[in-house]
């Protein structure tokens, strides 16, 4: 762009700003930069908040405050009796956003749905390799093996044919990678020789339109006036990228932003005491655990694992490491998830009984390693300190603990090994609110040597979760998962430690904000009091 042109457009924007001086603008102090704006290409929540949850919609959506699903761009759907065919009836009259370089000529239809998924699974799709073409979430949810074909029945009906029944399919389609993109826009950009614009200047059907991104500093959105659920009460939405939590807090106090993400746990008490702020909290959809290697003696005996669990003071861990921003975990799935079995009793903290149990199991002078997670995660804010607390607790029952750690990539890789020496601290954050996404991924027999860090393959447990995966009735599935949690507690492949609590501080002027257990940040329906 020439200098003259740039200046002219600058003046135009200035004029626009002046005319909308009274526009309602909400500033969100976010924790990091998005990797891009095509949610299917990326895996970070920070990226999704700035793309899929702002600009885009999906066929199916998660409810604002639970992990239950509701109709989105699909008004309704039918599932065949064999669970292999999902037919979606699409909403009519939904408009894609327009921008300087694109004005849609038609409404959203079946072609957009088919394009959205074909670009992620068909090598002959011209978008398959665009921007590196690493469709990580689509791949990690096994979609390429699962989807046999996607058929356009008519302009407003699409049928997904699967290779095997998969109960979490509906929840999968509510995930960020399934955000619906415009085929018309994609075709136009391809013809113009700029296919990367799909990622850099996104067009969706969602509540906000993308306006501009200044790298590592600011993302600007404007309300989509044609949004099918009605325009947002906010006129403009701005993400002020502020990586330091203390600085985000100062900005919130100074009124430079109205909502902030991830506060320092130590600041939460002061925030709650401040009458100009409002602090919302929500149990995160995650779990932090210590996984024993159940293939290695003496940890192959459940009595030994249980004894160690009973010697670890989880309450102390919660107070010291989480500083109140967590709850003790007793099940491998978080309480916000359907099928959570609250009747399960946690192993009590009882060092004396633990000592006796170890002796009864014939274990003397036990030495073991605990792997301390080297990075800060929501489910484990300080791995090293957590390992040290466990070391102290276990010393009291005569177990000698050596703490080891590796660089994060190494840690993830090495901890998968079946002959791994030691118990590993790790955790998981849910993707789609389905229990299968925790129980099968983390504890299923298929995941041994991979994401099943306990290397634990129990036939009773595995049969229950495999059965639950292929039936579509949720109540029936819930019963099976509840039983699976009983087996899990009885066998104790992990010491379940904590579920984190996520806080969202905001100005008292903010109205209508909801926290999602999935950790997604959404601003549709949010308003600012004058």
């Amino acid at each position: 762009m020439s200098l003259k042109k740039t200046l002219a457009s600058g003046l135009m924007v200035a004029a626009l700003m002046a005319s909308t001086a009274s526009a309602k603008t909400m500033v969100y102090c976010s924790e990091g930069s998005p990797e891009g704006f095509d949610p299917a290409l990326y895996t970070a929540g920070t990226t999704f908040n700035a793309s899929s949850r702002t600009i885009y919609d999906r066929l199916v959506e998660f409810e604002a405050t639970t992990t239950a699903t509701k109709p989105g761009l699909a008004e309704s759907w039918d599932i065949s009796d064999d669970g292999l065919e999902y037919t979606f009836h699409l909403r009519k009259g939904v408009k894609f956003q327009s921008s300087d370089s694109f004005t849609p000529t038609r409404d959203f239809n079946a072609d957009d749905v088919i394009f959205t998924f074909d670009r992620q699974r068909k090598e002959d799709n011209p978008y398959f390799k665009v921007e590196g073409g690493s469709w990580e979430y689509f791949n990690s949810m096994s979609m390429p093996d699962l989807i046999k074909e996607i058929v356009k029945v008519d302009d407003n009906t699409v049928k997904f044919v699967l290779n095997r029944p998969e109960a979490p399919m509906i929840a999968n389609l509510a995930m960020d990678f399934a955000s619906i993109v415009s085929k018309e826009y994609a075709d136009a950009m391809l013809a113009a020789g700029t296919p990367e614009m799909l990622n850099q200047a996104p067009i969706g059907t969602g509540p906000f339109k993308f306006v501009a991104y200044q790298k590592d500093a600011v993302i600007r959105f404007a309300a989509n006036p044609d949004y099918w659920q009605g325009a947002s009460p906010l006129d403009d939405l701005v993400f002020a990228i502020t990586t330091d939590a203390s600085v985000r807090y100062q900005k919130l106090k100074a009124g430079e932003c109205q909502i902030m993400s991830y506060p320092n746990p130590a600041d939460v008490a002061a925030m709650k005491a401040d009458s100009s702020l409002n602090v919302m909290e929500q149990e995160g959809l995650n779990v932090g655990y210590l996984a024993y290697n159940t293939m290695q003696p003496p940890f192959d005996k459940k009595e030994v694992r249980k004894a160690l669990n009973m010697a670890i003071d989880k309450k102390a861990i919660l107070d010291v490491i989480f500083q109140g921003s967590g709850t003790i975990a007793k099940n491998p799935i978080p309480p916000a998830m359907w099928s959570y079995n609250d009747a399960v009793k946690d192993d009590p903290f009882d060092p004396e009984a633990a000592k006796k149990m170890l002796a009864d199991a014939g274990v003397k002078d036990l030495s073991m390693k605990i792997w301390a997670i080297p990075v800060q995660r929501p489910y484990n804010p300080n791995g090293r300190r957590m390992a040290e607390l466990m070391q102290e607790d276990l010393a009291k029952i005569g177990v000698k603990v050596e703490i080891v750690s590796y660089e994060w990539g190494e840690y993830l890789e090495r901890s998968k090994a079946k002959d791994r020496d030691g118990a590993v601290l790790l955790g998981w954050t849910g993707d789609n609110g389905d229990p299968d996404n925790f129980l099968a991924v983390l504890l299923g027999c298929d995941a041994v040597g991979g994401s099943n860090r306990a290397q634990w393959c129990n036939k009773d447990f595995n049969d229950l979760i495999m059965k639950a995966k292929v039936i579509s009735d949720q109540a029936e599935r819930a019963k099976l998962y509840e039983q699976a949690q009983v087996v899990f507690k009885e066998e104790a492949p992990w010491d379940t430690i904590a579920h984190s609590v996520v806080f969202t501080p905001m100005s008292a002027k903010v109205e209508g904000y909801n926290m999602s257990p999935l950790g997604s940040v959404r601003f549709y329906g949010v308003d600012l009091k004058e």
Binding site: T43, A240, V247, G409
Partner: protein, 335 residues
């Protein structure tokens, strides 16, 4: 002078090759590869892992990878970021003006205050002013940047409400980027209050980033001045009846400038290192923050390209300093 310049320029080449080697090796020495780091807890299946290895070219021997890298560099292609998929070159130039603007302001502050402070301290050697100034400089030099930054934010922005907390300009202003320098762009935008807002956003980061160079320059100027002030020709100048200002600032300072300029040149490296923390705290979208994020993500092309570009900048500054020596002291270029 041209010969002197050419000889300085020649030393550029081996340093440049060395930098490409170090930047290439540095990120690969760190354990963990970008694919596992990107996949996180979710992991990646072995077949997909192999596919990605191939896609990124990691399946080739290191020497081949280095060859591709160096050929790319010579063609002006630094590769694309694994994460954002954008060319490293574009990312660097999108962010560099922010770092440069901040660094220039910080250096300006450091020189504008450090030079006179050093001269005054030297002239008043041993007196209260000298002691107070040098103790303050020592404190400034030893202060951890992140602590100093947070303290300033809490006091200046939180309690007193004098300055904005972070960012480059108030979010109410929005205009297209022309030069990337916010002070210039805000003026060009013609929007009322934009320039003032950009200036007010620069105050705290400039103070934080300028503190260490300021302390170093003040101390260096003082010691260089003390040495020069004891020279015979200064005594002669004083005996001739020249004004103290003329003696100190014209005769003495000019000769004390060589070590001071060296320190200013070296401070550019320190400034870029300091920019990493300053930028992170003040949400300043510059290259410091960009490099740190890339190291954590093992984003090889960004780390390699970024380090190379930064090293070239430092080399250019050093070259400029060398040339400046020649101007200040003609004896140097004749040697």
């Amino acid at each position: 002078m041209l010969k002197y310049f050419a000889s300085r320029l020649l030393t550029f080449l081996p340093t440049f090759i060395g930098v490409t080697l170090i930047s290439f090796a540095f990120i690969r020495v760190l354990p963990g590869d970008p694919i596992t780091v990107m996949a996180g807890e979710r992991g990646v299946d072995p077949a997909r892992y192999q596919e990605l290895l191939q896609q990124f070219g990691f399946d080739q021997p290191l020497i081949v990878q280095y060859w591709h890298y160096i050929v790319g560099v010579l063609h002006g292609d630094l590769g694309k970021s694994f994460v954002t998929k954008k060319p490293v070159w574009d990312e660097f130039f999108a962010l560099f003006p922010a770092t440069l603007e901040l660094s220039i302001c910080a250096m300006f502050l450091a020189v504008a205050l450090g030079l006179p402070a050093g001269v005054i301290a030297a002239v008043n050697r041993g007196k209260f002013f000298d002691r107070a100034l040098m103790s303050t400089a020592l404190v400034g030099y030893s202060m951890p940047i992140f602590w100093w930054a947070l303290l300033l934010i809490i006091v200046m922005s939180g309690w007193l409400g004098l300055t904005p907390v972070s960012g480059r300009i108030s979010l109410l202003f929005y205009f297209p980027r022309v030069t990337g320098f916010m002070l210039i762009d805000s003026l060009l935008s013609g929007q009322k209050g934009a320039f003032t807002s950009a200036v007010s956003h620069l105050i705290l980061p400039t103070i934080v980033l300028g503190t260490i160079p300021l302390a170093v320059i003040a101390r260096q100027t003082r010691s260089a001045m003390l040495e020069v002030l004891s020279e015979d020709y200064i005594r002669t100048a004083r005996a001739k009846g020249l004004s103290p200002y003329g003696v100190n600032f014209v005769h003495a300072l000019r000769n004390a400038m060589i070590p001071v300029i060296t320190v200013i040149g070296l401070s550019v490296g320190t400034l870029l290192a300091g920019a990493i923390l300053t930028e992170t705290i003040f949400s300043w979208p510059g290259i410091g923050k960009w490099m740190v994020d890339s190291i954590f993500r093992r984003d090889y092309p960004v780390v390699q390209g970024g380090l190379l570009l930064i090293a070239v900048m430092v080399m250019i500054v050093n070259l400029t300093v060398d040339v400046l020596y020649g101007f200040i002291n003609p004896k140097i270029r004749k040697r």
